[in-house]
Each structure stands twice: as C-alpha cells, then as structure tokens.
C-alpha cells in the first residue's frame, strides 16, 4: 500500500508539472482555438463553420439564421437541441476533449463537427 501511495504521489506531481507546462507548450494551439468564435451559424441549410475547434470547457452556441426550423443533434447521442426556429439558439458546453459530429435530423444533409482540445 505504501509503495502504491508513493507511486500515486509521484504520478500526481508529474500531472501537476505537466499541467503547469501545457499552457506554455500548447499556447499556440489554444490561441487558435480561442480565436475562433464559439458560435455556429445556421444559414442556407448549412452549419458554418462546418468544423469548429474549441478548447475544453467552451460553450458553443448555434444560431438559426434560416427561415426554416432546424435542430442540432449529436451523431453519437451526446447532445440534442429542441427544434430551433429563426433566430433561436442552442448552447452546449464541451467539458471533454474529442470530436463531436452532429447534424440536423430534419435535413440530414446538414452536418458539422466540433473538435475539442
């Protein structure tokens, strides 16, 4: 047990050091991610940008600029909006890194994805 605790402690220290280092190492990538607006516009039956890259913890907002209602449905069942009519929005906070493909289940040719770092 003692040995394991020591190991855990060592691991924790490593994680702490990495956490301190990551902002410096990944600062460029993060800057890029933060520069992109955390908003997806629905216009002309398409999601724009089609791929949006954000950092962990970002809340992404979709806004429907079409005269026709749409919805935002995660292909893997992670999130699903109610139907959004003109100028209505939907927001979802991404707390885990990964790639999240989604589509409009009314007009399934409309697809997009959120990449979370």
């Amino acid at each position: 047990m003692v040995a394991r605790n020591k190991w855990t402690l060592g691991l924790r220290t490593l994680v702490m050091i990495s956490t301190l280092l990551i902002p410096t190492l990944n600062s460029k990538a993060q800057e890029q991610a933060q520069k992109s607006p955390a908003e997806v516009k629905i216009d002309n039956f398409s999601f724009g940008p089609k791929t949006l890259t954000v950092s962990v913890g970002t809340e992404v907002t979709w806004i429907n600029r079409d005269d026709i209602p749409h919805n935002i449905v995660s292909t893997d069942g992670v999130f699903e909006s109610k139907v959004r009519d003109t100028n209505e929005t939907f927001s979802y906070k991404f707390v885990n890194p990964g790639t999240y493909p989604y589509y409009c289940s009314l007009h399934p040719k409309m697809t997009g994805k959120i990449v979370v770092h």
């Binding site: 002309n44 039956f45 026709i68 139907v83 007009h107 399934p108």
Partner: protein
C-alpha cells in the same frame, strides 16, 4: 407473369392508338406546371390543355375515382416568402370547391404545420372543413413530427395507422398506400422508410392482383429528385421493388414545393406544389429555403393537384393548377 395476358396491357395498346408517343410526352414534360391535363397509363401518357374538356367517355364520373392532392401548407410560417399561409390554403380550398366535379376525397402529403404545434394543426383542420370533400388522408412531413416522435401528429391523424403513421386503403378499385419517410433520418442521408415499414409494404401488396392500380403517397419524393438537397429517399428502391409487378403505379409526393414528373416503366412519379411558399428549382439557389417572389407572382407558384382515374380505361389524369 406474362404481360400480354394482363388486361391492362391490352388497354395500353388501345391508348397507344389515340395517345401521344414518348417523345411527345417528353415535350409535354417541359410544360409541367403550366396547366396540362395528364392522362397517364403505364408510361403512355395523353395530354390536353387545362380547362379543355376531354371526350365524354373520358370524363364520365360513374364508377370513376377523383381526388385532389394538397401539400406543404406549413401553417404557422410567417416569413417574407408568404406572411399569410392561412389565406393561401383557403384559396386552395376555394379552388377545390370550384372544380367541375366534386372530388371523392383529399390527400395531404405532409408539412401540414410549420412547427408541429396543436394550434397550427387546428387551423388547417378548420380551413379544410370548408372543403367539399370531408375525407382527408394525411401523411406527415418532417415539420409535423418535430418533437416527441410525432406524438401530436399521431394523436390527431394517426389513429388507424401503423408504426410512425403508415397505412393503406382501397377506393373504387384503386389501392392507396400512405408512407412515412421523415422519421429516424441518418446524418448525411436522405428520407428513409426503414425496415419495419418496408416489411409492411411487402405484406400489404402481397395478395393484390397485378392489375390493381396502385397510388403511393408520401412527403419526401420517393425518387432521386436532387440528393444534394436531400430530395430523395434512401430506401425507396426497395419499396418500389415490391410494386414492380403492378401494371400501374403512381407515386405522389410533396416536400419540394414545385411540380415535377418522371415516368419509369409502369411507375409515374409526381410532386405537388405547396399551398404556402415556392422553393427554388434544384441547384438554382444556394439552398432549398423558401423563395421570395413578387406578391402578384406568389399565387402562380402555389397550387393543387387534381387526379382522376378512369376505370374503363385504367388511366390516370393528373392535373396541376395554380391558385392564381
């Protein structure tokens, strides 16, 4: 089966003598939507100008079937393309009531409402009450099934239906099949019927004679009108496969808010205008969204479809007429 023994095939030969040939038919297709009367049978269509009465034997109503298709009333839509969709639906009903012969019933091919709200369905039901024909057969569009797996629609219109609202019925010797292709759509895909419904179709037509005329109606086109805009149905080929042996199959759809026709063997495909707002021709705009046209032009792009089935000749006349 041996086609030459089929009574319908013999009828087609008769039609050939006074009909127009396929080349003539293709020429007619270019005029679609401008008011031609279609008499279509097994790919051998006869056309005449709208308003011109056909020969007496063609219009005799005894034992013949007549119905009107309306589509895409989008009750609740209030944007620039048409701020008053209730008025244009009423105009469509007035048009139906002014037909020289009262139709047996109405078919509504979906997008009754814009947002599946009870008050939107109420308004449509109220307006349709003023239509001569009291029987209305519905199939849902994607706008009618927006929340709760279509519960609001199914509670109202789906009582005698199966699955997500599909059903069949017979009228004056014609077998009607109402299908649902707006549910459980997959990312990147088109309209979808799904395995359960496909199995039901196979079973539904199993015991019908091949000479039975079939009319299939569904919201999204059951042929690939323009897949880039989602105007097609992924598994429609399988459904139509079950109907291959039938001498006369007519497929009526909505969804694309404009008329379009195609004949493939014994299958005739037809899409109806909307009663609410027009949509652009395939690929002629950035998206299939509502098309804003000058006010005076709107009614020339909305309309109804009048279908007549003449029993003795086993032929269907499909007439599109605009509201203005």
């Amino acid at each position: 089966m041996n086609e030459s023994n089929d009574p319908i095939s013999r009828n087609f030969e008769d039609l050939n003598q006074d009909g127009i040939d396929r080349r003539g038919f293709l020429k007619c297709m270019a005029w679609a939507g401008t008011g031609l009367v279609w008499t279509i049978s097994g790919g051998v269509p006869v056309s005449r100008a709208l308003g011109k009465r056909a020969n007496d034997h063609e219009t005799s109503r005894s034992g013949d079937l007549s119905f009107v298709q309306i589509s895409d009333s989008h009750m609740g839509f209030n944007k620039a393309a048409n701020p008053d969709v209730a008025a244009t639906l009423q105009a469509a009903v007035d048009r139906i009531n002014a037909l020289p012969e009262r139709p047996d019933f109405l078919l509504h091919t979906g997008d009754i409402s814009h947002l599946s709200r009870p008050e939107q369905f109420d308004t449509v039901d109220q307006i349709l009450k003023s239509a001569g024909p009291k029987d209305v057969f519905f199939v849902p569009g994607e706008h009618d099934m927006l929340e709760d797996n279509g519960k609001t629609y199914l509670d109202r219109y789906g009582k005698a239906t199966k699955g997500a609202g599909w059903y069949s019925f017979d009228s004056r010797g014609v077998h009607f099949i109402g299908l649902v292709n707006v549910m459980n759509l997959k990312a990147g895909g088109l309209g979808s019927l799904g395995q359960e419904q496909l199995e039901w179709i196979e079973e539904d037509v199993k015991n019908l004679r091949s000479s039975t005329p079939i009319i299939v109606f569904a919201h999204i086109p059951l042929w690939n009108v323009y897949p880039e805009w989602g105007w097609g149905t992924d598994d429609s080929g399988q459904a139509l496969g079950y109907l291959k042996r039938f001498g006369s199959v007519t497929v009526l759809n909505g969804h694309i808010h404009q008329t379009m026709q195609k004949v493939e063997g014994s299958v005739t495909f037809h899409t109806a205008m909307s009663t609410a707002f027009p949509q652009p021709q395939p690929g002629k705009a950035d998206s299939p969204g509502p098309m804003k046209v000058p006010g005076e032009q709107l009614k020339t792009m909305l309309g109804i479809t009048d279908v007549n089935y003449v029993q003795r000749r086993h032929s269907l006349a499909v007439v599109d007429s605009t509201l203005g």
